[in-house]
């Protein structure tokens, strides 16, 4: 039975303190490594006969705004099909230099998953055979899922902000109507009670 303790021990034996941040949220072992080491760790987890993490379940990006060196994260979810053990591996990169080595040499499924991560977060995968946008329009010039870009399409001119819970003519969501319930707001307006 392959246990999280065993995996952690093997990783620490091989990489010493280059792997860190061991956690077990909901029973899945999670750890981090510097981004230059990502291929070494992935290959180690793949090749070792007692680890055998040979299935890449997911490869996704995360944006943590304001974290400096650890702003963009790439998360690999690996699965050992024979022992049914899952493991999560994170690497971080700063927004100014989001370069990470590609895992396509090891896992073919990483091809499209890295294209998606590039499309939405702008993470440049070094060595990827075909790094271009996959889900968005090719002419898009920004990376939508970074937190400083708004969700909404900016080309609309007919939106009434009141319907979306912000501003508008009544002022929902602004300090103007920050009186709690409607009844209290009416009392406030009538001058009876100051909330």
């Amino acid at each position: 039975m392959l246990s999280n303790e065993h995996i952690k021990q093997r990783l620490i034996e091989k990489f010493n303190d280059q792997v860190y941040g061991f956690e077990e949220p909901y029973g899945t072992l999670t750890f981090e490594a510097p981004r230059e080491m990502n291929l070494k760790v992935l290959n180690f987890l793949y090749d070792e006969e007692d680890l055998k993490f040979r299935f890449l379940t997911d490869l996704c990006g995360v944006h943590f705004p304001g974290q400096g060196e650890k702003e963009l994260a790439v998360v690999y979810h690996l699965h050992n099909l024979e022992d049914n053990v899952r493991i999560r591996f994170k690497v971080f990169a700063p927004l100014s230099k989001p370069d990470i080595y590609t895992a396509t040499g090891l896992f073919s499924s990483a091809n499209w998953m890295e294209r998606e991560t590039y499309d939405f977060y702008g993470i440049n995968f070094i060595g990827h055979p075909n790094l271009r946008r996959i889900l968005n329009v090719d002419e898009m010039d920004y990376f939508p899922l970074l937190k400083h870009y708004p969700l909404e399409d900016q080309s609309r001119v007919d939106k009434d902000d009141e319907m979306f819970g912000r501003g508008g003519s009544i002022g929902f969501g602004t300090a103007k109507t920050d009186h709690g319930t409607v009844v209290e707001a009416e009392k406030h307006n009538a001058g009876e009670e100051k909330v």
């Binding site: 329009v137 870009y149 969700l151 399409d153």
Partner: protein, 194 residues
Amino acid sequence: MSRPVSFNIKKKPLVSDISMAEMPEGHQGEGFFATTLDSVIGLARKNSIWPLPFATSCCGIEFMATMGAHYDLARFGSERVGFSPRQCDLLMVMGTIAKKMGPVVKQVYLQMAEPRWVIAVGACASSGGIFDTYSVLQGIDQVIPVDVYVPGCPPRPEAILDGVMNIQKLVGKESLRRRSSPGYKTLLESYGIQ
């Protein structure tokens, strides 16, 4: 308290099992009937519209219900639902159209032969609906000219039928010269279609 029913409230008595289309106005006598060509052709066209379903998401399921036996679309003449744009009159766009799908919708519209009509079924096709995001086209009228919009998320089959009936009104009243008129040409030019 559920929303009050807004369709099918007045119960109409069944006059006969077969419903006949209304005759257009004209002069008739013993063995002949004279009317305008527009009205006869409009009558024929409106009762035999062949739709092209461009069903993308949830509204497509409502369309499937509309085509079923309970809310029959076939009784309006749309028995033959074609998937080839070359043979269809009515492009029914049902569902969310992403920005990447916009050129595809335009291409399908371009492949249709005149006269052609477009119905935008549902909130997403009419205006982007609930998906006000960077990836969803905020209404297909940004890429193709639309004749009838059916609001709803998703619209009930009765509402889709109401939309088709409105298209029938448009088809019945359309002038035969409309498609070569300068007004129509400027409309297509504004969409970048020659």
